[in-house]
């Protein structure tokens, strides 16, 4: 199932297509991300970003194409793959009746960590994400940002080689956001491949080294941030060049009481 030939690439997707009935969510996706890259995956709402994350992590089976992550073939049955990747999914994927602490406590042993090791790592992660005081909060009573941070802590707990983060900065306070960005840069420098989707272009522009833009399921652009800066452009310029500026409706009636 796993192929060591794909070792040089952190993420290697070839001709991946995903359809839901008559709708093609992702069309012929071909993507290669080197280890240690902070890769931004950008696109408007409903363009296929989260579906791509699900496909690359084996949460959704593709209609066609093949994918390798950290040298492991991507499939729902590949448990070895799940051990080396960390995922922050779109919906955070948390159990609503457990506390933040309980999520980490149950997660560690499943990745082969001892209870003591899990406890130590959990304390450090919660401190870094400013969640220490809220560790006893139940997920169904936690704020959106707290849920995101909890899911991020779970993604990091087992020290993954590849990280998939779907909108990691959404709903996060500025202090924690800064800590997360610093952490991601440090991890990438240590060779961890990080695949980030985001709407917040200003944030990702300062963070990522390479990016792709997906529009209506098709990757329309894939280049490095350095290339964009050399061309005297910003990430926003490139984004709107491909995505187009949204139409403006006539809302003059708003505010006229």
């Amino acid at each position: 199932m796993d192929n060591p030939d794909h070792g040089p690439w952190g993420i290697d997707a070839r001709g991946v297509t995903k359809t839901f009935g008559s709708v093609t969510a992702v069309r012929n996706l071909t993507l290669r991300v080197a280890p240690g890259t902070l890769f931004g995956f950008l696109g408007p709402n409903g363009s296929g970003k989260s579906t791509t994350v699900k496909l690359l992590t084996g949460l959704l089976p593709p209609a066609t194409g093949e994918m390798f992550v950290a040298g492991h073939a991507v499939s729902p049955e590949n448990i070895a793959l799940r051990r080396v990747i960390g995922i922050l999914p779109e919906d955070a994927a948390l159990f609503h009746s457990l506390t933040i602490w309980e999520h980490l406590e149950l997660s560690g042993p499943l990745y082969g960590l001892s209870r003591q090791n899990t406890r130590e790592r959990a304390i450090q992660l919660l401190r870094h994400l400013d969640l220490e005081r809220d560790s006893g909060t139940f997920i169904d009573q936690a704020s959106y940002g707290m849920r995101k941070k909890c899911a991020l802590a779970m993604a990091l707990l087992h020290n993954p080689r590849i990280l998939f983060l779907d909108e990691p900065f959404e709903g996060i306070d500025p202090g924690s956001s800064r800590n997360i960005k610093d952490l991601l840069v440090t991890l990438a420098a240590k060779g961890v491949t990080i695949f980030v989707t985001s709407h917040i272009l200003e944030v990702v522009e300062r963070l990522i080294t390479q990016f792709a833009i997906i529009i209506r399921g098709e990757v329309v652009c894939c280049q490095t941030v350095a290339d964009v800066q050399r061309a005297g452009m910003t990430l926003e310029d490139v984004y709107f060049k491909h995505a187009g500026k949204p139409a403006i409706g006539n809302l003059a009636w708003l505010g006229s009481h």
């Binding site: 992590t57 084996g58 999914p89 159990f95 457990l98 009573q141």
Partner: protein, 490 residues
């Protein structure tokens, strides 16, 4: 009123859209409707005719039965109230006052064809009152009874949705239930007679008393009682509804003392603890525990025949059947995604669910074992453990298959209501048969009993392992389909 009508129109549309899109919901309603229509057509006319004859002679036995039946049927509203599409919490963002919100909530229940059928049946059941001495007052009393049943069910629904009230009210109710059950089990026929005496003052009997009252004066007390009961329950509903919709939800306690008792060791310990916590929050698993507690209390006053204990074990599993056969029913699609993210095979996910259910069943039946040792000796206790083990394996084997092929959404603090009743009945039969075979072998004098029992136990174990493996593989491939099914039936 235009706003209410508009909301109800969309509520109706949303209800039927879900009905059409989800096969299991349609199956559930069709089966319930078939059973109800069948009962109404075959039993009701004869019962009503007899009730009419008795009422004309001043007797109320049959009418009491009819009114009791419809009073209980109205409790079905409790289930339907949890299934409305546009919930009050969604609607409270609109500029609608509490009174109208409550009105919408009550009327929304009648989107369900079952609620409409019960309403029609209730109206039809008034026919015998035409032959009673007090036709008009009897009819008014009966309508008050149905209103009381509806409002009480809505009240129960509201109370169940607030954690603080659940904790305060359910425990005393459970104690009363256990006490009544213990009296019934310990005293047999005499106990039933005493329960009947207590039941003479209940609302259905008040309706009968009004309808056969010889003088207008004799009507006043039962009718006034019904009016007062309605007023009290309506006020309680309004108050509880207001608190449940606009009150602040109390913070959950950070420590769960029960979880510390119902723990599970090993790598899967955390997940098993969570699973049993989820299953514990369904109403389906509680009647079984109350029944065991009632039997245990009754056993303190004298030994019960072993057949009672053995039957109770089978009944406990039948109470649990909807939870066992739908072990993903309490999960959200986000939680199913988490199972996929964690490095677990589908078989391991199913195993964790099964272990969670085993902890629950163990807690339900735990008291029976020491009582069996005390009252009947270790052999009897061993027989009960053996029967419970076979029942558990058989139920889980079938339950795993159904859980991955026909999942449906369940809600916390509600009885499971959307499953296919036919599948439930088949599951109950298949799951119970090996246990009943073991019990009959244990009670037989045959020389081959021991070998046969060992054979049944081994067969149940093999079937369970095959089911676990197959269902686990199927879960891996159908996880997103299961998630979609659960989303559609919310």
């Amino acid at each position: 009123m235009a706003g209410i009508a508009l909301i109800l129109r969309y509520q109706w549309r949303a209800f039927w859209r879900r009905f059409i899109r989800t096969r299991h919901r349609a199956q559930f309603y069709l089966t319930v409707l078939t059973v109800l229509v069948g009962a109404f057509v075959t039993i009701l006319p004869e019962r009503l005719s007899r009730a009419a004859q008795e009422l004309s002679a001043g007797q109320t036995t049959s009418m009491d039965g009819v009114l009791w039946t419809f009073g209980v049927l109205w409790l079905f509203v409790l289930v339907e109230d949890a299934n409305v599409s546009l919930t009050t919490r969604h609607l409270r963002t609109f500029p609608i006052d509490t009174r109208r919100l409550l009105f919408v909530r009550i009327l929304s229940v009648f989107c369900s064809p079952v609620a409409l059928l019960i309403a029609c049946g209730s109206v039809f059941s008034l026919w015998p009152l035409l032959f009673a001495r007090q036709t008009i007052l009897g009819t008014i009393a009966a309508l008050l009874l149905f209103a009381l049943a509806l409002v009480s069910a809505m009240c129960a629904s509201t109370v169940l949705s607030v954690a603080e009230w659940r904790r305060r009210l359910l425990a005393p109710m459970a104690v009363i239930g256990i006490a009544l059950g213990a009296v019934f089990l310990a005293q047999g026929v005499q106990g039933v007679a005493r329960l009947r005496t207590v039941a003479a003052g209940t609302p259905p009997n008040l309706v009968s008393a009004v309808s056969v009252a010889a003088t207008p004066l004799a009507v006043i007390v039962p009718l006034t009682t019904l009016v007062v009961m309605n007023a009290v329950v309506c006020l309680l509903l309004f108050w509880s509804f207001r608190r449940s919709v606009f009150g602040e939800s109390a913070k959950q306690p950070t420590g769960r003392s029960v979880d510390r008792v119902l723990w599970f060791p090993g790598r899967f310990g955390g997940l098993v603890r969570m699973e049993q916590h989820y299953f514990r929050k369904t109403l389906d698993v509680w009647p079984g525990l109350l029944l065991v507690l009632a039997v245990s209390v009754a056993s303190l006053f004298g030994p019960l025949p072993p057949i009672v204990h053995q039957s109770i074990i089978v009944i406990v599993f039948l109470f649990n059947i909807n939870v066992i056969m739908n072990c993903f029913g309490l999960n959200t699609s986000a939680e199913l995604n988490r199972y996929a993210i964690l490095p677990l095979r589908g078989t391991q996910v199913l195993l964790v669910k099964n272990l969670g259910l085993t902890v629950i069943v163990g807690a339900q039946l735990a008291l029976l074992i020491p009582i069996a040792i005390w009252r009947s000796g270790p052999f009897e206790a061993g027989a009960e453990v053996l029967a419970a083990a076979v029942l558990l394996l058989a139920h889980l084997a079938w339950g795993n298959l159904v859980s991955v092929t026909a999942p449906f959404k369940m809600q916390f603090y509600r009885f499971a209501s959307n499953g296919a009743p036919l599948t439930t009945m088949v599951g109950g039969t298949i799951g119970s048969t090996p246990g009943i075979v073991v019990l009959s072998l244990l009670n037989s004098e045959s020389s081959v009993s021991a070998a046969a029992i060992a054979g049944v136990l081994l067969l149940s174990l093999v079937v369970y392992l095959v089911s676990l493996h197959w269902s686990g593989r199927r879960f891996e491939h159908r996880r997103h389909i299961i998630a979609e099914r659960l989303l559609l039936t919310i």
